[in-house]
Symmetry: C2
Subunit: 420 residues, 2 copies
């Protein structure tokens, strides 16, 4: 008696998901990405999917630009302008002026450059507030930078204490806009205002926001930001990162790493360092052109797309995923740790489960790719450009099945790999 009813429910669920997809104004964007047919990819917040145009573009850069035009390509294919050209494209996605953003190095290196730049203008001592439990590189980099100057101190606070920690005497606040585990989102506008009222500078890590959350950095009077190219910007594994320096800071801050590409005239080979204008002075070495080319294709997938529309879709996907998991996986040990209100979260959804590691391995074997964050978090990314409601409906079915049958208990799912 139960099976036909269940089967009826399932086909109704699939039909409902497809109806939501049919109403999705961004549904055609999925065709811009090359995703394997046997995979439901819910890990774009870790490594974004590959745009279909990427292999062709990267192939042109190798075979034609490097292989045939060789050194001339710095001019003829304008490799030299890639950091500022990509910066300007990312600027549109985060509400910045084109020349406030450059692409360079990694998020870690960019964090370091901006933290040290603030230390230099604030003087011999100071206090930096950061969030305990945030993505660790932020606190690692901050602690390392501060340890180089005796008078500087890191005030590492749990999330609940961040607001009270922002008070006069604080020089710099380093904060991820969206939390890498829970997806909890800080109010960038309000926290920036609070920092300014306390006399502090705010440095935002937008790794889980750029291309996911509609941002207006200039409207928020933001100071500084960094972010990642390989998540929602679809730039490929280890894609170069970006940094934002507000116009009012551009002539006041200097990079601690004075590489030749940050020089006002790199090819004059002058003996003394003279920083370039604006954010360009935060460039260091020669940019990795192949990876830059792939990042440019990734960012170009936002052509004709407003981040606001992408965010709205991702939030609908998140609502749907939470609802569907709680309905179809009830009593199976999952606990939502992502905020329920769209304005308070980013574009991924996380649940804890005591056996998160083997559960995720079992999901991946069945083609549902999310990721696990130690010790117990199952994390599912919902990039608007290529995730559908039907993807989620199918993924939740697999999740429920894996949990209900105990399939994750097989020994092969318990082996640890180097990257988790």
């Amino acid at each position: 008696v139960t099976r036909p009813r269940r089967r009826g429910q399932e086909s109704a669920g699939l039909a409902a998901a497809r109806a939501l997809d049919a109403e999705d104004p961004l549904r055609s964007l999925r065709a811009r990405f090359a995703l394997p047919a046997d995979v439901i990819y819910l890990d774009g917040e870790s490594l974004g999917a590959m745009p279909a145009a990427t292999p062709g573009r990267v192939s042109a850069v190798t075979t034609h630009e490097w292989g045939e035009d060789l050194i001339r390509s710095w001019n003829t294919h304008d490799w030299i302008a890639a950091p500022s050209r990509l910066g300007a494209k990312i600027a549109r996605l985060i509400g910045a002026r084109p020349d406030e953003v450059v692409v360079a190095d990694s998020t870690s290196v960019n964090l370091y450059k901006l933290i040290r730049a603030v230390m230099a203008v604030r003087g011999r001592k100071g206090v930096v507030v950061a969030e305990a439990g945030d993505f660790p590189t932020d606190a690692y980099v901050a602690a390392g930078a501060l340890s180089q100057a005796a008078g500087w101190r890191l005030d590492l606070r749990p999330r609940a204490e961040i607001a009270e920690a922002i008070r006069p005497g604080v020089d710099l606040l380093v904060l991820s806009h969206v939390h890498y585990k829970t997806a909890a989102r800080h109010d960038l506008v309000a926290v920036t205002r609070k920092a300014h009222e306390a006399g502090a500078i705010a440095l935002w890590d937008l790794s889980h926001s750029a291309g996911a959350i509609a941002l207006d950095l200039d409207g928020a009077n933001a100071d500084l930001a960094v972010g990642c190219g390989y998540k929602y910007l679809n730039g490929g594994p280890g894609a170069p990162a970006f940094l934002f320096v507000a116009e009012r800071w551009r002539e006041k801050l200097s990079s601690p790493i004075n590489g030749w590409m940050g020089h006002a005239a790199p090819f004059a080979f002058a003996q003394d360092y003279a920083p370039a204008d604006g954010a360009m002075r935060f460039l260091c070495g020669t940019p990795p052109i192949l990876s830059m080319a792939a990042l440019e294709v990734g960012v170009d997938q936002f052509d004709g797309v407003e981040v606001n529309a992408a965010e709205q879709k991702s939030q609908r996907l998140a609502d749907y995923l939470i609802f569907d998991v709680e309905a179809r996986c009830a009593g199976l040990g999952l606990q939502l740790i992502t905020p329920r209100r769209p304005a308070e979260r980013g574009c991924h959804v996380s649940f804890t489960h005591p056996d998160a590691w083997p559960v995720m391995q079992a999901l991946i074997e069945r083609g549902v790719i999310g990721d696990m964050r130690a010790p117990d978090v199952l994390r599912f990314g919902l990039p608007a450009l290529y995730v559908s409601f039907e993807d989620l409906w199918r993924a939740v079915g697999v999740l429920g099945d894996v949990l209900r049958t105990g399939a994750w208990n097989a020994p092969r799912f318990h082996a640890r790999r180097r990257v988790t």
Copy 2:
């Protein structure tokens, strides 16, 4: 009467060059590179030529590894080990142990990391000696790093004074092994010994040496080094750089930029930073995998090749080029600035000419690609893996013709481009 004789001389010259190529034990390596038929490429000391295998490998990394295997490739295709795997391959080329070298970031960023690491172990004050007129990023980075600590001072000396500047009280010597303009080579063994006798640490920039000059860093008791991936290592435009930390320094030095990839257990997401063992602790952010893949192909072109053999060939090419230019371009305004003795130079040859810029533009238009370094240097790179004696014979013919006819005087050759 003169023309037949000249034509006879020319065909004799071509035959002689071809005879030298026929005796070259490395002549078959050229087939490993994709060079255009209408180009004589003498700029590998700026951007190495593309290996024929690169497009296929990069295409596999995009289409297959990223596009199909997605996030799983960090494990299944061992992206995570790329920095140490490539480091070990480069280690063989510079006479280091496999785990003394990692690939990361740019040369500028690596210089900064190692200079700050030395500052941290040497204490609150110190002196760094560097060479005036060396590739500027080295002095830029050193000056910037030292400016962050009141007690540290940069002693920037002309080349002739470097030896006397290395004396007790000096903490660190930062020096390019091979000069980017003149190709003048320091005696790495002797200078390292002198630095140690004075109580100083030596940090070598091997950008123009790795893959060009036979090096034995461990035999020389070297301390620290950095180098470039896109010159003689054929890694492609802006390829990631490498750094070397001698085993005896590995537990004593720490990176100033504590990014998550330098953590002993990056995926534990621990709150506190614990550096990885050895050179791995100098990693920072996520490595740019596409550019890393191209660099690995570049380094793999040395499979079965001893750098010593490559250096010997490049030195013969240099002797030939100097001889041929002085014979066939006599009285045309060229002045050799590269040492005549092979042991005292790297693998490029440079001449000054008062109109170096338009002369080089005219050469490039005729398919002879070298480069110009401000204000007056014509620079020709001689990587052993793909340059032939016939290339040089033909290039010198074009050079003589351009100078003799004044072809470089055409207005189009005087326009400046962004990258010179």
